[in-house]
Subunit: 396 residues, 2 copies
């Protein structure tokens, strides 16, 4: 844990040099109630009172924290200089910043990226007030570029944790295949999955209410909704969206099943076609995914393929980065819709991990989705998950 | 769950009328990564894309959300009007606000209270941009007063959930008394507590690393730090800070033990005196706690009593509100230190639940702390936890 954080702090220092920013400050309070998404990656503990975690271009680290948390910070051991205060952070904050005298101070606010937007508006006003008699209030800039790079570029240790989470998730999908049969409900399938998760002591990649998300048959919510009491029936297409959090790193994968009807020994033509179009769209997109391409271009490849085959386009992006959160990093494989801000326009970089998750509706049967995870390499991309090749058949 | 949220929304409408504010809006995105602390209380589900949850003075509720989350929002059932959007929230947002045409729009930013400060600075900038061609950007005000009232005033259902969490916590303290003996470490005591928590399927009131916090003997961190491999010894004062989260509501209590030395059948004079001063300080403070008093006045009563007996003052507030979070509500029983902002100056109201948790160091022995929970009544206050009367003795 500590080692992983020190590795990311070191990487942050490299990025500060690359972007020529003297100082990056994560400014927080009461992280038990709402936590700046950077805390787990670059601090590794909580903070109760106003606290500043500073990383500088020359490799220094400063934690300015409430005095009652001094011993804890020391034992966590991720910051070299610890400055405890009793009544107000202001004096020590100005003192530390003055010694650094930074050209720019990156702080965590961003219109585009929630992961670089951990500074609340009230805390922003507090910070401006603390700095109002100094030259530093004028030097605040968004840390969005730093955070996009830091969260995106996975270290070897991070990648191996992510592969572990993927492996365990795929194992659970396998177990689910033998559990599904006509008559079981979406909820029962979800509970079966959660019982395996509990037994193994794993965490979930997102809210339990929708992890796993399970949809059986036609006319379901299709995504971002909780499992219901709908029962699996013959002729249903079933899809499941599920991810684990193991040692702080997430997986996020989807698989599709078909429940055979009497006399069938394979999925009917329409179902097979829908599944194949999804599978093909993922392969087409993955082939073009490499450093320097833009997210919207990759999204368009999959989206266009689905439209060309006569299906409606999916109402979301093709894929997102993943890491400590299921939705992580900056750049996004999404369409150029206002709701995605500038994220689909950011260049794709080596070592980023993306999901690829197109979807389409097979009228009268259900929804076909496959979600794979890929890592961007020097000249292309590699699948981290063994891609689903065939629709999983349930023999009733 | 839904019932509790509808109860709080109804209470919010009353508060909007009391404060004469037409509309309150919780504006969020990607709540899976960082969640506005109001979401669980007044929405009851997550939101992925920019989403606005609006409560009006006349009792209307509007959820403006990404289209993919429409079915989920409908099934959660906490908002009467649901407005799904596909590409950008802007149009529907302006449309809904225009129909309300509010004099003031309360949004969640606050310099003083983290619980009213769920709006990030980036999202604040987004909001201002969405509203820039309307008259509404000028009408934004802080929701801090609304949230302080709403989180503070516990409904009967909320109080009964909190009593349940307290009861179970006290049960666990009892079990701990039979577990503690010389030679066991702080970590082992904490693990023992966590095993009971797991067995019962309870949640914790704060981060597992420090819940419970256990400190044995002299010269420990004393607070806000993780249990260590320090072993319990004869002559140690032990204190533990621990809370549960059951059905979404928290407890937060502390108790003190003493490990008898050979030949002792009671705690030595200094230990007993330290314990008694803490116990007395709590009673003196509770006696003055009632609607209309200010938090710093109540803090001062306990703090002054401890100083008068020749101990150092505690480096924190006497107590905080508690509810869905261990640190909840607005008004605080804290000293007039800058780090507490205006919270010690807010009047105490009926139905608020506070902790009372003074501390002092017994030189050479350890730290004496007791933490009780009290609810403010019409004319005074009532203990929700059965107060610790005697220091718990461990017979070695």
């Amino acid at each position: 844990m500590k080692e992983l954080i020190l590795e990311k702090i070191e990487q942050a220092v490299e990025i500060l040099n690359e972007k020529n920013i003297d100082m990056w400050m994560t400014f927080v309070r009461e992280t038990g109630n709402m936590k700046d998404p950077m805390m787990d990656m670059i601090v590794g503990t909580h903070a109760t009172w106003q606290s500043a975690f500073i990383i500088t271009k020359n490799g220094d680290t400063h934690a300015i924290i409430g005095s009652l948390e001094f011993e804890n910070m020391k034992s966590v051991g991720t910051y070299k200089n610890i400055h405890p205060y009793l009544k107000s952070i202001k004096e020590k904050l100005i003192d530390v910043i003055s010694k650094i005298n930074p050209n720019k101070i990156a702080v965590n606010f961003s219109r585009n990226s929630i992961l670089a937007d951990g500074l609340t508006h009230g805390m922003y006003l507090e910070l401006i007030d603390h700095l109002k008699d100094s030259p530093f209030a004028e030097r605040l800039v968004s840390s969005e570029e730093i955070i996009a790079a830091l969260r995106g570029r996975k270290s070897p240790k991070e990648l191996s944790l992510m592969k572990e989470a993927i492996k365990e998730t795929l194992k659970i999908f396998n177990e689910v295949t033998s559990f599904i049969k006509p008559g079981v409900t979406e909820k029962e399938i979800a509970d079966f999955v959660l019982s395996i998760v509990d037994k193994n002591g794993y965490g979930l990649a997102w809210d339990k209410e929708q992890c796993p998300a399970v949809f059986t048959g036609p006319n379901t919510a299709g995504a971002h909704a909780s499992p219901t009491n709908r029962k699996v029936e013959q002729g249903h297409v079933i899809n499941m969206d599920f991810g684990l959090n193991i040692n702080g790193y997430c997986s996020d994968l989807q698989r599709t099943w078909y429940v055979l009807r009497p006399g069938e020994d394979k999925a009917p033509f329409e179902v097979q076609k829908g599944f194949d179009v999804i599978k093909e769209s993922i392969q087409l997109a993955a082939k073009e995914l490499r450093p320097g391409r833009l997210g919207w271009e990759i999204d368009f490849i999959a989206r266009d393929n689905i439209l060309k085959h006569g299906y409606e386009e999916y109402p979301h992006g093709l894929g997102h980065q993943i890491g400590r959160f299921a939705h992580d990093g900056g750049a996004l494989l999404g369409p150029r819709w206002e709701r995605y801000g500038n994220l689909p326009f950011l260049p794709i970089e080596e070592k980023q991990v993306y999901t690829l998750e197109p979807r389409l509706t097979i009228e009268g049967y259900g929804i076909a989705t496959i979600e794979e995870e890929v890592v961007v390499t020097k000249n292309g991309s590699e699948f981290l998950s063994e891609p689903q090749k065939d629709i999983y058949l349930i023999y009733a």
